[in-house]
Symmetry: C2
Subunit: 349 residues, 2 copies
C-alpha cells in the first residue's frame, strides 16, 4: 500500500551526482572510487576529493540488489535477555565484524510460530547466512530444511537439530552434566533431581545422558520422578517442586539446565525454606556472571558462550565465502567447566 508521504530527503549523494558535478560518466566515477587502473590518476583525485568533500557513501542497498547479497548474517535465538545468548551474540558480533559482516538479530521468544516467521523474514531480507539456536517449542524443522535446500548457508549452535546436515557448535553438555552429577554423588547425595528443558532439544538429551551416566557409575537406577522437563513458567516451578517434595524419598540434590531454570528453582527452594546446601545440594547449568554473589554462591557448569558464538559465526562465514569446496559438515564440541561453590558443598562445620 503506497503511502503519499514524501520520502525522507536524507541529502545523500550518489555516484550519479558526482558524475554530473564533475562532468564525467557514472562508470568513470564508479571505477575511480574503486581505484581501477584504467582511470587517470588526476581524474581519480578529482573524484576522490569531491566524494570526500560531499561525504559520499556507497548505497549498500543498491549493492545488495546487484550482487544479490547483503553482507549481513541473521541470528535467531530464543531470547536475548539471557546471559548465555547475549554472551554468544557478543562472540558472533566479534567474528562477523572481523570479516566485514553485519549481524541482524531476531528472537523467537521460544515460540515455534515466531521462529518460522523470523526465518521467512531473514530469507526475504536476503541475508547471506543464518545462525540459529532452536526455540524450545520447535519440533518440526521443515522451515529450516527448505531454507537450506534453497541454498542458504545455515549453522546451528547450542540447541541443534539432529536431522539437518550442516555445521553445528555445541558445548560438551554430556560431559558437563556428567561431572556435575558426579560431583553431587561424590558429596554424598543419592536422590538427585534433574531439572531440564523440553525433551525434544538436543541439549536436553545430552545433559540427561550425562546425568544418567553418572548415576550408573554409582549403580543408581533412573527414577523418572526425579527428572522434570520444563517450560519456563513460574507456576510450573511450583508444581514441580510440590511433586518432588511430596515423594516418599524427596531429592537431596539438584542438577538444573539453563540459566532460567537454575534461577527459578533456586528461588523456589529458598521460598520454601529448603536450605542449600544443607537440605539439597545444587548445581546449575548456567552462564550467570553473578553465580558467585548468590545466596549461597551457586555451583554451576559454565559454557564458553562467547567462544561458541565466535566459532559458529566463523563456520557460517566460511560456508558463505565457500572457503571449502565440499563443505564437510562438522560438529564442534566445546568443553564446559564446572565451578564448585557453596551451593553444592558438603555441610560445613
Amino acid at each position: 500500500m503506497p503511502k503519499e508521504d514524501a520520502p525522507e530527503f536524507v541529502d545523500t549523494i550518489t555516484i550519479k551526482d558526482i558524475a554530473k558535478a564533475l562532468n564525467l560518466s557514472t562508470s568513470t566515477v564508479s571505477r575511480a572510487l574503486r581505484d581501477s587502473y584504467e582511470i587517470n590518476p588526476e581524474t581519480k583525485r578529482l573524484v576522490l576529493d569531491y566524494a570526500e568533500k560531499m561525504h559520499y557513501r556507497p548505497n549498500p542497498i543498491a549493492l545488495s540488489l546487484k550482487e544479490n547479497r547483503s553482507q549481513a548474517i541473521g541470528v535467531i535465538v530464543p531470547e536475548i535477555a539471557n546471559t548465555y545468548f547475549s554472551q554468544a551474540i557478543n562472540g558472533i558480533e566479534a567474528a562477523a565484524y572481523e570479516r566485514g559482516y553485519h549481524v541482524v538479530i531476531f528472537q523467537s521468544q521460544e515460540s515455534y510460530e515466531r521462529e518460522v516467521e523470523k526465518v521467512e523474514h531473514l530469507a526475504a531480507r536476503r541475508v547471506d547466512g543464518v545462525l540459529m539456536s532452536l526455540s524450545s517449542h520447535t519440533f518440526d524443522i521443515d522451515h529450516l530444511k527448505t531454507l537450506q535446500d534453497r541454498g542458504m548457508p545455515l549453522v546451528f549452535f547450542d540447541r541443534i537439530p539432529t536431522s539437518i546436515e550442516t555445521h553445528k557448535v555445541v558445548a560438551d553438555n554430556f560431559g558437563g552434566a556428567y561431572r556435575a552429577t558426579l560431583h553431587l554423588l561424590e558429596s554424598g547425595r543419592r536422590r538427585i533431581a534433574h531439572i531440564t528443558s523440553q525433551p525434544g532439544l538436543s541439549i536436553t538429551k545430552e545433559r540427561l545422558s550425562g546425568y544418567l551416566a553418572a548415576l550408573k557409575e554409582y549403580n543408581i537406577d533412573h527414577d523418572e520422578q526425579l527428572v522434570k522437563f520444563c517450560t519456563y513458567t513460574q507456576e510450573e516451578v511450583e508444581a514441580n517442586l510440590d511433586a518432588l517434595f511430596s515423594l516418599a524419598a524427596p531429592p537431596d540434590g539438584f542438577m538444573t539446565a539453563s540459566d532460567r531454570l537454575a534461577l527459578g528453582y533456586y528461588g523456589g527452594l529458598k521460598k520454601r525454606h529448603i536450605r542449600i546446601p544443607e537440605d539439597v545440594a545444587f548445581v546449575g547449568f548456567s552462564n550467570l556472571n553473578v553465580a558467585e554473589l548468590l545466596n549461597p554462591p551457586m555451583s554451576s557448569v559454565v559454557q564458553p558462550a562467547f567462544q561458541m558464538g565466535h566459532t559458529a559465526a566463523g563456520l557460517l562465514l566460511d560456508l558463505i565465502e565457500k572457503k571449502e569446496k565440499f563443505p564437510e559438515y562438522r560438529i564442534e564440541r566445546l568443553s564446559t567447566e564446572l565451578f564448585i561453590r557453596e551451593s553444592s558443598c558438603p555441610n560445613k562445620h
Copy 2:
C-alpha cells in the same frame, strides 16, 4: 573488491519470472499482486495462484532501493549483555514488530570510536530511524548531530545528550536516586557513598542530583570523597574501595548506579568481608532479575526497561511516519521503583 565466486543461487522467483511464465507484463503482475482494481479478477487469480505455488516473496531490497527506506530501525546500545539493555531491546522489538518494522542491533561497547562507526553504518544502510543510548565515552556528539541534520529520525533513551533536540525517553533517575538515598538516611546511615558512571552522562548527573537532594534534606554536606565516577574495570573497583575505606570516616552506605557497578561493588565488599547490611547498607540501581537471590538480597532501584524501549521505539516510529506535522520534541520520564531488601535493612535482631 569483486570476487569471482558465483552468487548464491537461492532459487528465488521474481515478478519477472511470473510475468514470463504467464505471458504477462511485469506491471500487470505487480498490480495483480497488490490487488489493484484495474486488473481482471481472473488474471489476478492466475497470478496469485502461480505466485503462491512458486513461493514468491517480494524482494525487500529492491523495494528499499526504490522507496529509499528499509522498514528497519537501528538500535545502538553500549552492550547487549546487560540486563537493562536487553530488556529495553525486548521492548523496542515488540513496538517495532507491532508496526511492521525490523530491528537491527549494534553495540558500541562503551567506546566512542565504535559508536561513531556504528552510526556511520546505520546511515549507510539506510535504516529509517535510529534509537540510541550513548556510550560512556561519548563526549562529542557531532556524529549524531550531523546524522540528524541529514534528516535521520533519531530518538534517545536512557543515556541521552543534552544538546540535541529530539524525543528522549528516560527513567526518573533523580527520583530513584533521591528515594534510594533517603531510604539509607532514614535507616540511620550518614556516610553514604555514591558510585556512579562517567560524569558526562545525563543519567550520572540526574542521579547525582537526586543523591545530593536527599543529603541536603538531612543537612549533610556533599563530601566529594564519597562520590566515585567509574568506568567498568575491576581494578578500579578495588582502587575506589581502598580509597573509601581508608577515609577517616569510611562509608556506612552505598548507592550505586547501573547493574555493572552494583555487582562489581557488591562483590568487592564481600571479598573484603565488609558485611552487608551490618557494616554498610547497599542500594543498587539495577534491573537484575536475580537481585532477590543475592547474598544478601539486594535493594535496588528498578527502571521500567521494557517500557522505556517500547515508548522510545514508538516515538521513533511516529517520527518516521510523520504522524505529527511539527514534531514537538518531548522528553518522556518514566517512573522508577525502589525495592527494599535485606541489603539496606537496619541491623536485624
